[in-house]
Structure formats: C-alpha cells, structure tokens
C-alpha cells in the first residue's frame, strides 16, 4: 500500500515535471534558436553591406581583380561558406568558390526564389525576405543565406566601362552564405543541458516524495496498520504511538479512542451477557432442581430424626442436610439475582434521588457518627432513569460506605457535577468514604455477582446490582480505592435525548462532536 502511494505520487509528479520542463525548454530553445538565427542574419546582412561597400569602388572602376580579392579574403573567414555576386541574368560573376564562376543560376534556385517567386520581379525586400535557411546537399548542417540586391546608381551607368544601362533598377545580387553549424551546436548543447536538468529534477522530486511518503505517510500508516492488526487479533488494549501531527495524527488519536471505547463496550457487553445468561441458566436450573432437592432435604431430615440415637450416622446426615441447604441457598442466590424489577424511567433530577436516599439513611449516619458532606450541583440536567433502581444504587453504595467506615467515625462525601466534557453530556456522581478501602486485586471482581469481602454477612449482590443498574441506564461506574484510606465510586449517567431537555439542534451538534 505504501509503495503504491509513493509510486503513484512519484509518477504523477514526474510527469508534471517532465511536461513543464519540456514546454519551458521548447519555448526557451525556440526563442534562443530564433535569436541566434537573427544574430547570424544580422551579421550576414552587415557583412554583405560591408562587402557591397568595399567592392563598390572597384566595381565603379571596373577593377574586377580587386573585387575577386575582397570576395576571396572574406570568403575564407570562419563561418562564411560562400560569397558570390551574380548579375540579373543569374550568371555568377564573382564567387569565393572559383568553380562556380560563369555558371548560370536557375530562377528557381534558393538564392533567386525570394525575388522571382511571383510573376512580377520584386525589387525591394525586407531583411527577413532576403534571408533563407537551407541545407546544402552533402553537408549535415544548415546554412543561412542572405541576398543583397545591388541597385543601379548614377556612378554605375556613368562609369567608363558602360557596363550598365541607365534604365536598369537592379544590376545584380550579392549572396552571402553563412554556416549555422555553430548555432546548431549551441542549441544542441542547450537541449542537452535541459534534458539533464529534467532528469535531475525528476530524480530530486522523486527522492523528496519518497522521503516525504516514508516519513509523513509510510511510518504513520505502518503504525496504523500495526494497530489495526493488533485489534484484529483481539488486542484492544493496544495503543498507537504518538504520530507527529497532521491528519494522520488525528487518525491515530481517533483510532486509540475507538479501541478504548471498543474495549469498554466489549467489557460491558461481556459483563451484561454474562449476567443475562446467568439469569436464564439460573431460572432453568432452579426450576429443575427444586423438586429433587425437596426430596433430598425432606428425606435426609426424616432419616436424621429416625437415627436420633446413632451419633455417627446423625453427624453424617447433618452434613447432608447442611449441604443440601447450601445447594438451596446457591440456587436462591442465583434466582435473586435474575429477579429484577421492571424499570420505569422518567426524567429526574438525580439530586432528588440522592437526597431521598440520604434521608432514609440519616439515622444510620447519626448512629455510626458519620459526617455526610453533600456537594450537589444545583444546575444539573435531568437524567432519564428509574428512580427505584437509582435509589438502590445509592443505598447499596452508601451502606457499603457505612460498613467500610465501621465503628470509628468517618466521612462520606457525595458529589454531583454537570459534565458536558468530551461530546456526550453526562451527570457525574461521586460517592467517597474514608473507610477501610478495597484491595486493588479485588477491583476486577467487586462487580461480579456473589463476590463479597464481607464474609457471611454479605450477599455479594450489592455491587453487582449497582453495576447492572448503571449499565441498564447506559452509564458507567468506576472505582478508585486505597486500603486504609477509603473508596471512591464514580458514576457517569448520560444525559440522553429521552431526557427531553435537548433540542434537535443540540442533538445534531452532539452528532457532529461525536463523529
């Protein structure tokens, strides 16, 4: 998965990079090419003007040798391929390429075409129109040719040679051909640089993306995957380590929150299922077992009476009677637990239930010298609860607190708080005492049915009932305790929609907060 993300990102970014650089390069190289050609063109034009200027005098004097010399010496310069002059008929009069002299050029030839392309011969041309780029045969590189018409002027037809008539406008054409090899080399070098740049840009971005994906996505994602795998094998206590920041950190936090809630829900579900199946089992077993147990109990009692004189048998029978009664008590205990009064829930102020419970127990507090501190928040939202069950919860917790404090005077603090905290609004109730406390090793068991630290005295059902009631109300109960210092039970009851205090918009807000 990681590889895919990285690879896809790299491919995407690389193609964008390639396209961008290619377009840039194309624009840059084209304009560079144009600029270089223009430069060459300009130079060629200047050169042809120079040639024209420097040969003018020789021409007027009809000193052909001088013209040849100038043309030859210029034609030898580096980058200049050919310099030639041809007359109106296309006959090459002067040329740096001696072999060419005297040859007749066709009007279709590249150097003539500019003026002779239309039926009417053009006499004035712009610099661009005079320029041509062509590829001479047998040569790999291109050439740039520029023609420069030699116009008739007074000196020409007045000269002693009388070579030119007065009515002619153009006497001939000076054609300078320059090599573009240099320009092409430069452009090729630039293109190479561009390709190199593109490759290194791709390499650099890919490397950067790889690193980013690894550190920003890869590592957190592998942490998340690890977490998910742990949850998949049932390790709900697994926590994902700190992810630096960004959405993945949020994801990690949410994941941890989710597993915590899942663990919570699972624990509650486990407990409630345990209780429900226990109840069903108890009812079934009790029904089946009561009748035979009646027989055992009755007949062993008869036998006991009949064997009054026989000490040894009597003792044995007493064991049977005693143990049968124990069976009966066990069955009875199971059934007591499964007997739960049907609940009737209403919108209630939990403070009222607490105050009612305290009123009932008032005498007990006074007898035992227990100081009860009430810290009841006056502005609590109503909770949707069964008052009887809630009263049972507080009675059981308070009676436990009284027992834990024992004969020495102590204190019980009962506190209620409005807790809108993280998402779900809730009412929090805390019952703490300064009693004997609960050993940490019992924390897991105190809410189990039939677990009691009170020995014969306790039924072991008090806290199991408390747990059942709180769970039935969608709440939570927690215990903190230290041996010798006291115990603190913390109950959280949700303020639900059924409490009737919430408007629809509040609910929707809650939805958003929860999501």
């Amino acid at each position: 998965m990681r590889k895919n993300i990285g690879l896809k990102l790299m491919l995407a970014v690389s193609s964008v990079t390639v396209a961008t650089i290619a377009i840039f390069s194309y624009i840059i190289i084209t304009s560079q090419h144009q600029a270089l050609i223009n430069q060459v063109e300009y130079n060629a034009d200047r050169l042809s003007e120079t040639i024209k200027g420097s040969t003018k005098y020789d021409m007027l004097l009809n000193q052909r040798e001088g013209v040849h010399r100038i043309i030859d010496s210029i034609g030898e310069q580096k980058g200049i391929e050919k310099v030639r002059i041809f007359n109106k008929e296309g006959k090459i009069i002067y040329s740096s390429d001696k072999g060419e002299i005297g040859q007749l050029l066709d009007k279709e030839a590249e150097s003539c075409y500019a003026c002779h392309r239309a039926d009417e011969v053009l006499e004035k041309l712009t610099i661009t129109e005079r320029t041509r780029v062509f590829e001479p045969s047998g040569n790999g590189s291109k050439s740039l040719g520029i023609i420069n018409p030699i116009y008739n002027e007074a000196g020409c037809w007045q000269a002693d040679c009388h070579a030119h008539a007065k009515d002619k406008k153009v006497l001939g054409v000076l054609d300078v051909t320059m090599s573009l090899a240099e320009v092409e080399n430069q452009i090729a070098a630039n293109e190479f640089k561009m390709v190199l740049l593109t490759i290194s840009a791709i390499a650099a971005t890919s490397l950067l993306i790889w690193w980013l994906v690894q550190s920003l996505v890869g590592k957190p994602v592998s942490q998340l995957v690890q977490g998910i795998n742990m949850v998949a094998i049932g390790r709900l206590d697994y926590k994902i380590g700190k992810i630096k920041d960004g959405e993945l950190a949020y994801l990690g936090d949410s994941f941890n929150k989710m597993t915590a809630r899942l663990a919570d829900a699972q624990r509650q579900l486990y407990h409630s299922e345990k209780l429900a199946s226990l109840g069903r089992l108890a009812a079934g077993v009790a029904h089946e077992i009561n009748n035979p147990l009646t027989g055992v109990l009755a007949y062993s009692s008869f036998l006991l009476k009949r064997l009054e004189g026989d000490g040894e048998s009597k003792e044995d029978l007493e064991v049977i009677v005693r143990e049968t009664k124990r069976c009966r008590d066990i069955v009875k205990g199971l059934l007591d637990f499964s007997r739960q009064a049907p609940q009737k829930k209403h919108n209630l102020q939990i403070n009222e239930v607490i105050l009612n419970t305290l009123a009932i127990l008032q005498n007990q507090f006074a007898i035992k010298g227990i100081d009860v501190v009430k810290k009841l928040s006056p502005d609590l939202p109503a909770v949707y609860v069964d008052s009887g069950s809630m009263q049972q919860v507080f009675t059981n917790l308070l009676v436990n607190a009284i027992d834990a404090i024992g004969k020495t005077a102590g204190q019980i603090i009962i506190e209620t708080k409005n807790e809108g905290g993280d998402g779900q609004p809730a009412v929090r109730i805390s019952v703490s005492d300064t009693g004997s406390g609960i050993d940490k090793k019992h924390f897991d068991k105190i809410f189990d049915p039939f677990f009691s630290t009170k020995g014969q005295k306790g039924t072991g059902l008090g806290l199991a009932v408390v747990w059942g009631v709180i769970e039935e109300h969608g709440g939570k109960i927690d215990v903190k305790s230290e041996v010798g210092k006291g115990t603190n039970f913390l109950i959280s009851l949700p303020v639900t929609a059924a409490a009737g205090n919430n408007s629809l918009s509040d609910l929707m807000k809650d939805e958003r907060v929860g999501s």
Binding site: N290, N291, A298, K332, D336, G388
Partner: protein, 258 residues
C-alpha cells in the same frame, strides 16, 4: 361436614407430595393429593379440607388459576402456596388473592410444618382480622403482603417491618428468632426473619419490600414475648431502606386499623 382429610396437596411432582406427606402425617395430619388443577378443584369442592397446599406449576393450568378459583369456591379455606424460587414473583402476587402463606421449595420439614400449623391454628381460632381492614387510598396506615407481614413507610422513605396478623399467638411457644445482619440487601418475598418454636416449626417472615437492612430490633432475641404482646410497635423486626418502593407497593395491600 367433617373433612375426610385435613390437607389437600395439589402438586404433580411425586417426590414433593411424598415429602409433604412424610412431614405432615407424623404431626397427626391426614393428607390427600391431586396432580392437576382440575382434580384439585373437584376434590376441594366435593370433599372439604382444612387447608390446601398448592403448587404454582401444574400440568393443566397455572397454579394461580387454582388459587383464584379456590378462593371463589371456598373463601374460608386457607391456602399455602408451595413453589420454587423461580416462581417467587407469582407467589408474591398470590398474597393479593388472599393466600395465607407460601413455602419455598426445597423446604425444610420445619418450614412446611410452620406454615401449615400456623394456618390451621389461625383457621381454628376463627380469626378474621377484625381489627384490620383493607384501606381506601386515603386512610392507608400500613401495607401488607396479604396478612402475612406489615410495613409502615415513614415520610423519609424508611420502612419498618412488623409481623402480619397471622403470626402473633399462632406460632406456638417461640424459642428463638433469626434476623438478618444490618447492611444486607433483602429482596421482596425472601426471608427477613425466621422464628423457631419449641416443636421445631420454622415460621418464616417474608420481606414485604426489597431494600437494605439498616437496623434490626435488638430487643427481640431476648424478649420474644414482644412478638405476641406488641407485635406492631415494640415487636418490630427490621428497619430497611426500600429501593423499589413504587413498583413493589402494587403487590401489597393497603390496610387501616380501627
């Protein structure tokens, strides 16, 4: 008409019938039995008994039908329901129809004898609770699980449990009383006191309400006479904090004293 038998047992479980017979016959009581509601009704109607022991789980009809029908046919005939803890709630509701007592299976012989003898004595005394009558909603002084046990609910919510009118003077010579420890939670219908007499009869007092026991009458073990001479005041049994008061009151009957 003189009854052929003292007691009719209606139960479909032979071992229970046998156990009851073996318990009651040595006490000088004659016993007949029926296995179904129909048979029980026909025997009770035609033969006349001093007492009916009725199971609540019978093959043809519910024991509740048997009880209500018996109450209609023979209102003077005391009924003791004998049933398991699984049907305890039904047993509690039976008190409203006028059932005398109930014995939970599996029972000790003393427990069955206690209920049966007390019922027979109460019946023989021709006792109709002349000084107590069912109250209207306005003049309720106390509640009762039938006439079995009474409870006064104080304004604070504290409940004081005392014997019902079927106990005092009908328990024989009381020997000792067993009361629960304070702090224990007792469910409605479970034993909240056991009174044992010299004949070995065990008279179980059922809790009228579910709640935590806050206090027990510490005078009682040393002064059992209080149960006979002042059962509704000084002879109180336990004070408890009821936790299901509202829902459980509907199983109770409101009484007033004249």
């Amino acid at each position: 008409m003189a009854p052929k038998h003292d007691i009719l047992i209606v139960d479909d479980e032979p071992i229970v019938v046998l156990s009851a017979q073996r318990t009651l016959v040595p006490a000088g009581l004659s016993v007949d039995h029926a296995g179904t509601v129909a048979e029980g009704l026909s025997k009770a109607d035609s033969q006349g008994f001093n007492l009916v022991l009725a199971d609540l789980m019978l093959p043809d009809h519910s024991g509740f039908d048997l009880v209500t029908e018996l109450r209609r046919l023979r209102p003077e005939l005391p009924i003791v329901v004998v049933t398991g803890y699984a049907t305890l709630e039904s047993a509690i509701t039976c008190f409203k129809t006028g059932v005398f007592d109930f014995v939970a299976k599996p029972f000790e012989t003393g427990e069955l004898l206690g209920s049966v003898q007390r019922a027979l004595r109460f019946q023989a005394a021709g006792k109709t609770s002349e000084s107590h009558f069912e109250a209207t909603d306005n003049n309720i002084e106390y509640y009762g699980l039938g006439k079995h046990v009474q409870v006064r609910v104080q304004p604070s919510g504290l409940a004081v449990v005392t014997l019902g009118v079927t106990f005092p003077h009908f328990m024989g010579k009381t020997l000792r009383i067993e009361l629960p420890e304070s702090g224990t939670t007792i469910l409605q219908g479970n034993a909240c006191a056991k009174i044992i007499n010299r004949e070995g009869e065990i008279h179980i007092v059922r809790a009228p309400l579910t709640g935590s026991v806050l206090e027990i009458n510490s005078q009682l073990p040393g002064n059992m006479k209080l149960l006979d001479i002042d059962p509704f005041n000084r002879g109180w049994l336990v004070r408890m904090a009821p936790t299901q008061l509202k829902s459980e009151l509907q199983h109770l009957t409101g009484f007033a004293r004249c």
